[in-house]
């Protein structure tokens, strides 16, 4: 199924959870925050939050700044 991550389409298996997606993307769960369809998903819910087709994700982290 198709989801949109940071503006890019991605194909993932149906039923993929946020926790599984982070593993697929090679991302450290302690270094990111995730919004799904504009709503923040708490880190404690990554394992139970299964993604649906066409959902839009924003995954953010820290970069250098002043």
């Amino acid at each position: 199924m198709k989801i949109i991550v940071n503006g890019e389409e991605r194909e993932i298996a149906p039923g993929t959870t946020l926790e599984q997606l982070l593993l697929l993307l090679g991302l450290d769960r302690g270094s990111v925050a995730i919004e799904v369809n504009g709503a923040l998903v708490s880190r404690s819910r990554y394992a139970e939050r299964a993604l649906q087709p066409e959902e839009r994700l924003e995954i953010v982290t820290f970069v250098g700044g002043g």
């Binding site: 991550v5 940071n6 503006g7 890019e8 993307l25 090679g26 991302l27 450290d28 302690g30 270094s31 990111v32 925050a33 919004e35 923040l40 708490s42 880190r43 924003e58 995954i59 953010v60 982290t61 820290f62 970069v63 250098g64 700044g65 002043g66």
Partner: protein
Amino acid sequence: MQHSTGTPGAADAAQAPRGTLGEDWRDEDLVLGRFRLRSRLLVGTGKYASLEESDQALAASGSDCVTVALRRIDLHAPPPPGGSLLERLRRGGYTILPNTAGCYTAADAVRTSVLAREILGTELVKLEVLGDPRTLLPDPVETLVATKELVAQGFCVLVYASDDPILAKRLEQAGATSVMPAGSPIGSGQGILNPNNLRIILESVQVPVIVDAGLGTASDVAFAMELGAAGVLLNTAIAGARQPVLMARSMRLACEAGRAAYVAGRIPKRLHASASSPLDGVSPSSPSGGSRG
């Protein structure tokens, strides 16, 4: 002293007997809500040529509080050897101060703050709501709205603002933990354009005042601290220097020097000279010896 939390070292020094403070003087911590900082120099992590250079400059600055920005993660970038910026900063034991740079509305700034808190698990945030991308000047109306909202949500809000004393007062009344007036536009290196406004802010508000933005070199930092600022926040002045690590050291020394000068209490400026050497008892020259200087 008016700054009950921002300048405790100064309050102590005012009560100390003359001549009792010197090499053994240790400044008090900069207290920002429940966060205590040993260094009064806060530094940004932007614009460095590499993470290694950033590591070295941060260490040389002596700072224990560093700012970061929140952005979309780059899904195509390989993970940096030695760890991400966040991993490095965590290893370094820094207090991490997320900013809301890039936000132009109160709503965006609140959203960014909430995302940052989710990552860090701490409520500290540097609120920055800008008016437009050309000047990067803060939008005072949106900044005040966002301050109120973030305070209501339990954030410890350090507020980047213009050097308007009335706005500083309003931000304090809204619950800001610190007011951070700009010396001059972000990244401009123009120094403190209106020291009189800064003086008025310093005598108007009780919360720590941290001069943020526009400082260009060591004397700007020392000047801010001599005026009584509780701290300064720098990024471009260090990262943009030809030798960033050396400039970081210079800024640390300037911050300490300016702070110590403020606590020590400078002499008033006066129009006319005041001799340092005694005017009495000058030995007159002998008739044959000619005059000497």
